[in-house]
């Protein structure tokens, strides 16, 4: 994949990966063995028919290839960029045994971009109107996917979003240099063209309740896709110092509110020529640390309590971060933040960690090494150690069952919750996961909602453990 050179891109917000040219896509597609096993399709959470779309690429039928992907995945330009392919389709690709796997993600992105640029998006026709109204709460990948599938089946769909922009994490979390906002906007526009109604600035649970939607506003079903938006902090001394951010706040200020641009009003800490520490090892941490670099940080340092091998981030993001000059401080964890007399962050006090025995999840749990404390300079710190369920909907919907952590209980196949007419999916059910899993949940929910609206039968099988 051609990309912007590291020394150039670390100072701009333009996309890092430039996309394959036709020639390169053809060369890559020829590497596919068209094997009968179709491991790749089985490895994909939504079962994209990889072999079939790659054959269409080889035949030069790029629009048909895009349509083939869309049968299972309605946001290919997005997943082609952000899916953890190495853990999914590419991770089980047969030719990976003899070198690099087929670059399925790059090919997916190639055909999706081709389709976008051709302007020939073959939007499927909607079924005749059913007269039923469905409310979707949250406009992240789960909500958008569900909305798209439901309008196609002839239902009237209204998406309610708390923020002033649509797209969920795709617009406020994942930065421009990884996922251009133009792409998300285009997907949202397509849905609007298909007839989805979007209402921003509505916080369900505050502006209106789920019961209000069902009983007063005439919606026959509600799909809750509010994500795992609540930031976790480390709960160490000094976290209230000026310059300490949650990843959500830092990324929202920069991505959603464009704090880096002069002609936008939202401010963000000026990290030009400063040292920055980002705590965590996932995609969110990578995004935050690389954003700090682009805002002009002199040194951007990632602090992670395990080793690089355990980092949950996409491999490509780790590679890109290193190339751009991010310093990795692994097997370390902050125990306190230290500031000056005016309350501005100056240093992070860390402790060295060592890996112990594997825990229930199979990951070796890190343990602090007594007496190993040391300090690193940091005038800005970003905490990216995970998020939890957003509670606003649950708090005002008493008959909606939740499980530990406040996540909504929903059946893994039907997405039905404990409350008649209410479905849930995406991060609000599984905990922070991935775009593709959220999309998959949106799909299943749409099928289940359609079935419910058609038959009027609820009878939810008792909620079981969530997918993912």
């Amino acid at each position: 994949m051609p990309e912007q050179p590291a020394e150039v891109r670390r100072a701009n917000f333009a996309e890092v990966n430039l996309g394959l040219e036709v020639q390169a896509a053809q060369v890559e597609a020829q590497r596919c063995l068209s094997c009968a096993s179709s491991n790749c399709t089985k490895g994909c959470p939504v079962g994209v028919k990889v072999r079939e779309f790659v054959e269409l690429v080889l035949a030069g039928e790029y629009l048909a290839a895009a349509r083939k992907i869309r049968e299972d995945n309605v946001l290919p330009a997005i997943t082609g960029r952000v899916c953890p392919q190495e853990d999914q389709c590419e991770g089980v690709c047969v030719i990976a045994k003899r070198g690099a796997p087929l670059a399925i993600g790059y090919l997916e992105r190639f055909v999706a971009d081709w389709e976008r640029q051709s302007g020939q998006l073959g939007l499927p026709p909607n079924a005749p109107p059913t007269g039923k109204k469905v409310a979707v709460v949250g406009s992240g990948p789960a909500g958008l996917t569900c909305a798209g599938d439901l309008v196609q089946r002839g239902h009237h769909v209204t998406v309610f979003e708390a923020l002033h922009e649509l797209g969920g994490v795709l617009v406020y979390g994942i930065p421009e240099f990884r996922l251009p906002k133009e792409i998300v906007r285009q997907e949202v526009d397509n849905l609007a063209k298909m007839g989805v109604e979007f209402v921003t600035n509505v916080v369900v649970g505050k502006t209106v309740t789920v019961d209000g939607l069902l009983n007063e506003e005439g919606y026959s079903a509600v799909f809750i896709a509010t994500g795992a938006g609540l930031p976790q902090f480390l709960n160490v001394p000094g976290e209230h110092l000026n310059g300490v951010y949650s990843a959500n706040e830092f990324l929202t200020r920069v991505n959603l509110l464009k704090a880096f641009a002069d002609d936008y009003d939202q401010p963000v800490f000026d990290c030009r020529d400063k040292e920055v520490a980002v705590v965590g090892g996932g995609n969110v941490a990578m995004d935050a640390v690389r954003t700090a670099l682009r805002l002009g940080a002199r040194k951007a340092r990632l602090i992670y309590r395990r080793t690089e091998a355990e980092m949950p981030a996409r491999k490509e993001e780790v590679k890109h971060a290193k190339e751009e000059g991010v310093e990795f401080l692994v097997l370390a964890n902050p125990v306190a933040f230290l500031g000056d007399e005016k309350g501005w962050l100056k240093k992070a006090r860390c402790i060295r960690m060592e890996l112990g025995e594997p825990d229930a999840s199979g990951r070796r749990s890190p343990k602090p090494m007594a007496g190993s404390e040391f300090e690193v300079d940091a005038e800005m710190a970003v905490i990216a150690v995970g998020t939890t369920a957003n509670p606003l909907v649950q708090a005002t919907t008493p008959d909606l069952k939740t499980r530990r952590g406040g996540y909504i209980e929903a059946n893994a196949d039907t997405m039905r919750t404990s409350k008649t007419g209410v479905f849930a999916g995406g991060d609000i059910v599984t905990g922070a996961a991935t775009v593709i899993l959220a999309m998959g949940a949106g799909r299943k929910a749409a099928a289940s909602i359609h079935e419910y609206l058609r038959s009027g039968q609820w009878a939810p099988p008792p909620p079981t453990n969530p997918t993912g």
Binding site: T207, G229, P231, N242, E249, T252, D265
Partner: protein
């Protein structure tokens, strides 16, 4: 888009707006706030809902023009549209019959205290209001509060109106007179709220303050609004904005609110310099949304 139906100045730089927002008007309870964005490159700022009319589908806000966004807002007139208004956010005030409630409003904090004072009166409390302002010109909602209060005192720094002194002077005087006070609600500048908290602490009078930390989303998603209450981190937008005054760490609040002071000062100066020149970009943009038409 949210249309402004009425707009009028109550005091220099303090403007009252009536905005069409039917869902918010219906759902809102005293003590809750909204977040607005006044143009498509604007920042998100929280503002308390001063009043609401669910039948008409309107809410009222009272805005003090202290930064670029609030000054921009205060340059808007009836008929203009605000692109983004979201709410009602935060927990509503705890309203029940306490007995005697002293409501203290400092400056534009009076606008925040006002709806709660009304609800407290309706819940059967004896409401004693103390309003503080630097000068008479800066006093707002005096008549409205007089109507809802059993007693109302006005304190000005210069003594040019009401009595000369601080709101805490009046509070101490009421206590000295042997009035029994069951709850104090104090909303205003941080030093005022801190002073009230210190005055009531030894007397063990339950005291509630409404905090105004920096906010972004207002839904619990960013944690930027975190305040230290009883040594624990709380998100003011979902756990507040009202907290037990005796548990609040006002020093941390003051420190965190200074985070963007320098940038904000520069932005404001730039904006003020620009708006003096006709045809400037920001002002133009709002001007376009600002048809001369009335409500």
């Amino acid at each position: 888009m949210f249309r402004i139906l009425q707009a009028q100045f109550l005091a220099p730089d303090v403007k009252r707006f009536t905005i069409e927002a039917p869902r918010i008007a219906k759902a809102r309870l005293p003590g809750q706030f909204i977040i607005v964005r006044v143009h498509d490159r604007g920042e998100r700022v929280p503002l308390t809902i001063a009043a609401a009319d669910p039948a008409k589908g309107t809410i009222d806000i009272i805005v003090q023009g202290i930064g670029k966004t609030t000054r921009l807002l205060n340059s808007m007139e009836a008929g203009a549209q605000i692109p983004d208004v979201v709410g009602p956010l935060g927990k509503p005030s705890e309203i029940r019959q306490f007995g005697t409630v002293v409501v203290i409003g400092g400056g534009v904090g009076t606008a925040i205290a006002y709806p709660t004072a009304v609800a407290m009166k309706q819940a059967g409390n004896r409401v004693v209001s103390i309003l503080g302002a630097r000068t008479k010109a800066l006093l707002i909602l005096e008549q409205e509060l007089a109507q809802t209060s059993d007693q109302l005192f006005v304190m000005t720094d210069d003594g040019g109106y009401g009595e000369k002194g601080l709101v805490t002077d009046k509070l101490r005087q009421l206590v000295a007179e042997g009035r029994s006070i069951d709850l104090v609600l104090a909303i205003g500048p941080i030093p005022m709220m801190k002073a009230v908290a210190e005055a009531t602490r030894p007397l063990k009078i339950p005291t509630v303050v409404s905090l105004n930390p920096i906010m972004v989303d207002g839904t619990g998603m960013c944690g930027g609004c975190r305040v230290l209450v009883d040594g624990k981190s709380q998100f003011a937008c979902v756990d507040g904005p009202e907290f037990d005054a005796h548990q609040v760490d006002f020093a941390v609040l003051t420190q965190r609110n200074a985070m963007y002071r320098q940038v904000e000062k520069e932005e404001l100066e730039e904006f003020e310099a620009m708006r003096k020149k006709p045809g400037s970009p920001d002002f133009c943009r709002l001007g376009m949304q600002n048809p001369q038409a009335g409500p």
